[in-house]
Assembly symmetry: C2
Homo-oligomer: 494 residues x 2
């Protein structure tokens, strides 16, 4: 049983002295966890998944009480969380994530000088600090994707619990710590801390080698700045804000207005609009009946948001948007005390005239419909966008505008969708959850999907070593059951 997850009661902050102890413990565990064979790390991750799912009847009620999220959603999110851990177990078993490259010595290397024997592999970066998110109390929190990928990489993890669900954090943390200890993980490989100051102190600790975060632009940028200003700067993988624009072509609006309206309402109100991939902006042709249908539509009932801070932020953002001279209401009640799904409208000209005001993310069940008069204006919208997690085309297969619009949007986003909705981020091999700033602070990485492990690794090359001293994956004769893909002398097998 590691002491780490239980040093602090969830209603008080972790002290600076406790942070020091936990970071030292993580640093002491780093070499052992890095050297723990991949199959053992994989088994440990699966054990965590199993214990979490076994505790569903304990955890979900705490989650409901602390986050106001509905039971079905939390049960589904716990499955997703367990699945992420299992998937990284699969990644470890296969081992190709290690990026193994073997170059044998070559006296005739055309560089003009002989090539030495060089063998490259990815190595865990060391202890990582992860900041839990408010809106995914399981999947982006204590045992979420950041934790799963960092532990899989071989890095000790310190999670700063989100204040929105402290009891759930403590309960989840205790389960993770016990499961890891029972699976033979070294003491210090996992800890939970509480309080903003503790999180910043951990991020500043010299032994910590990376940070990961999901949350607001303001909070994420402040932590990014802390990480970058350290005497030894460290990478900070922040997933911040996004408006996730949806571009509806004239042909699609003419052909499928009803389906589009239903899909859009379903997506922007899912989880009460509290997803980083919520479609916050819908561009539609002026004169189509999409706006009329949105005005006449039945919306899901108002649902409680995660906490008072989210409510205040939502209302502030929505009030500012509603007060804009070029914005008017379509549906919902922006001024109501309980936040109902709300749709506002403006024009493409107004958007291009004041993109900073009209493209602000409004975290909650609200969206802005933008009417355009000429489809050829759409690429200009792509040009004023900041970086986005997603952008969506709702279009017909033969829409002439699609290739140009795709070409412009691909420079601004991490994921581009075609006639689907951006909420519901699937955890897969090819998923990309990230994008240019402010969508993320590290657009060359993803926080969802199997490649998320790459954030916590760095390459090391071994030059001229005898076989017996090399890591097993780098040997000319690797273990018989080893399926790691190797690039040997520049060539892949097959």
């Amino acid at each position: 049983m590691t002491s780490s997850a239980t040093t602090t009661a969830p209603d008080e902050s972790t002290t600076p002295e406790q942070v020091d102890v936990l970071v030292a413990s993580a640093a002491a565990a780093a070499d052992r966890w890095a050297a723990t064979p991949r199959p053992v790390r994989a088994t440990a991750l699966r054990a965590v998944a199993e214990r979490l799912e076994a505790a569903v009847e304990t955890l979900v009620p705490i989650g409901i009480r602390e986050t106001h999220l509905p039971e079905a959603r939390l049960r589904g999110e716990l499955r997703r969380t367990a699945f992420q851990l299992e998937l990284f177990g699969e990644v470890l078993d296969e081992g190709t994530y290690l990026g193994v490259r073997v170059d044998h010595a070559d006296a005739d290397w055309p560089m003009g000088a002989p090539r030495p024997d060089l063998r490259r592999i990815l190595y865990p970066v060391g202890p990582v600090v992860i900041f839990g998110a408010s809106n995914f109390p399981f999947a982006f929190s204590i045992a979420g994707g950041d934790t799963a990928s960092a532990l899989a990489a071989g890095c000790p993890v310190i999670v700063k619990a989100h204040p929105g669900h402290p009891e759930l954090s403590a309960a989840t943390g205790a389960i993770v710590a016990t499961a890891l200890a029972d699976a033979g993980a070294p003491d210090g490989v996992f800890a939970v801390i509480y309080g903003s100051d503790a999180g910043v102190a951990a991020l500043r600790a010299p032994a910590v080698k990376a940070g990961a975060f999901t949350g607001s632009i303001a909070g994420g940028r402040a932590l990014f700045d802390v990480a970058a200003a350290r005497p030894e700067p460290i990478p900070f993988y922040g997933e911040l804000g996004s408006t996730n624009p949806v571009f509806v072509t004239a042909a699609a609006a003419a052909a499928r207005a009803e389906e589009i309206v239903a899909g859009f309402i379903g997506s922007f109100t899912l989880g009460a609009g509290q997803f980083c991939t919520k479609p916050g902006v819908l561009l539609v042709p002026a004169g189509s009946d999409i706006v009329d249908k949105l005005a006449a539509a039945t919306y899901p009932p108002a649902a409680p948001l995660l906490n008072d801070r989210i409510v205040a932020g939502f209302r502030g953002g929505l009030d500012a948007l509603a007060a804009h001279p070029n914005v008017e209401a379509v549906a919902g009640d922006a001024g109501a005390t309980s936040p109902a799904p709300t749709v506002l409208r403006t024009t493409l000209e107004a958007l291009l005239d004041d993109p900073e005001a009209l493209l602000q993310e409004c975290f909650g069940p609200a969206a802005l419909v933008v009417e355009y008069t000429d489809e050829s204006q759409l690429p200009a919208v792509a040009d004023v966008l900041h970086g986005q997690l997603t952008a969506t085309l709702v279009a017909q297969d033969d829409d002439a505008i699609a290739p140009e619009l795709m070409g412009r949007l691909v420079t601004k986003v991490g994921r581009l969708l075609w006639n689907q909705w951006p909420t519901g981020v699937s955890v897969t091999y090819a998923q990309q959850h990230g994008g240019p700033y402010p969508a993320t602070t590290a657009p060359s990485t993803t926080s969802v999907g199997t490649d998320a492990i790459g954030r916590f690794l760095r390459p090391v090359a071994y030059q001229g070593f005898p076989e017996h001293l090399l890591p097993a994956e780098l040997r000319d004769t690797p273990p018989a059951d080893d399926a790691v893909l190797r690039r040997v002398d520049g060539h892949l097998p097959g």
Copy 2:
């Protein structure tokens, strides 16, 4: 003919207005260069290589005059430079660097929700600013590895010329620009700028999406801070400083003192010690005859350093080291007006007592020999090291200390060597030139070898797109001659 490389005479700085024009031109070229087929980009890189080698008789004399480097070295470096361009052509032809992953839709995906069709590929980040180095006027300058890998990735490049070789920069830049234009590259894809202010202005330009640098810790950190403080922070791939310690075990010293001394002198004096991988610290057993042999050895004659600033920096660093109460001279003349190869000595206890002073990089032909009394003290040295490009073990195959020492050093370095010397960084598939800070500002990347292209790419996922709108590499039926490795539904071929 692009105008970019000839807007500024090399003896004056590029003005802010000129930087604006060149950045706008690069931004305008970005989409076209990104969309240029890989074989065309590969051909363009090979054309640059060919033109550079064809101009060897023009370029090398300018290089000799401006850098004082010997002819043979510069001819070899030009070959290396051409080879890098050719190698990235090979990388483009193969295409596996794109990291293609295809997930087909799966209604039974065990996450608990259906998996959509997701296809992921790496996309160029956009215009890049590259800061040329003083010590590699070809290979880390105008047409060096950073330029080659960024152009290969599909990014327009603006190179800030190093002031140590302005004429060579202009001459190289003109050749690159002409070769690219003749190969059909869009106008604006390549430019050279002059002056520190111009470099900073370019790094701050909103359209620029990454920076790359090789140089001093002070200079590199200042530019890293500029990149991180932008409203949109961008990655900054800085390769800064390293002392590249060499650990000689007692058994190796007993068996091979003569060979070790010869190898060490050859390595730390190569290029007058002006390599980022120069072995600056040599740990040897006290009482071995290595120190005596170093005192009695014949050293290469004093060679002129690159420029007056390098001389001043070398002398300042060496004077500080020589004045340290626990350091004494072994060979050379630290006080001479012409910098001769110089060896100083200290003890392991002194090193552990004041590592910040004794482990400073001293760029030039100097090294510090550290005598230890007990081999088991060596891992403690690894613990006080800052991040390093390299560390080297000079040891016997059955040395008992090797595994532990390797385990400690791997946490601090990008490349670990066994009975070889760290200078002479081979350009290969498995090379890793990078390491924890301050060796680099981005330890998860390399600036040498084929993986250097990864610095200038970011992933994009396409969800639900019809085949005809996808990039060719993501289609279920890719072009017949396409050898790109694809991970399909989690599986690699074979």
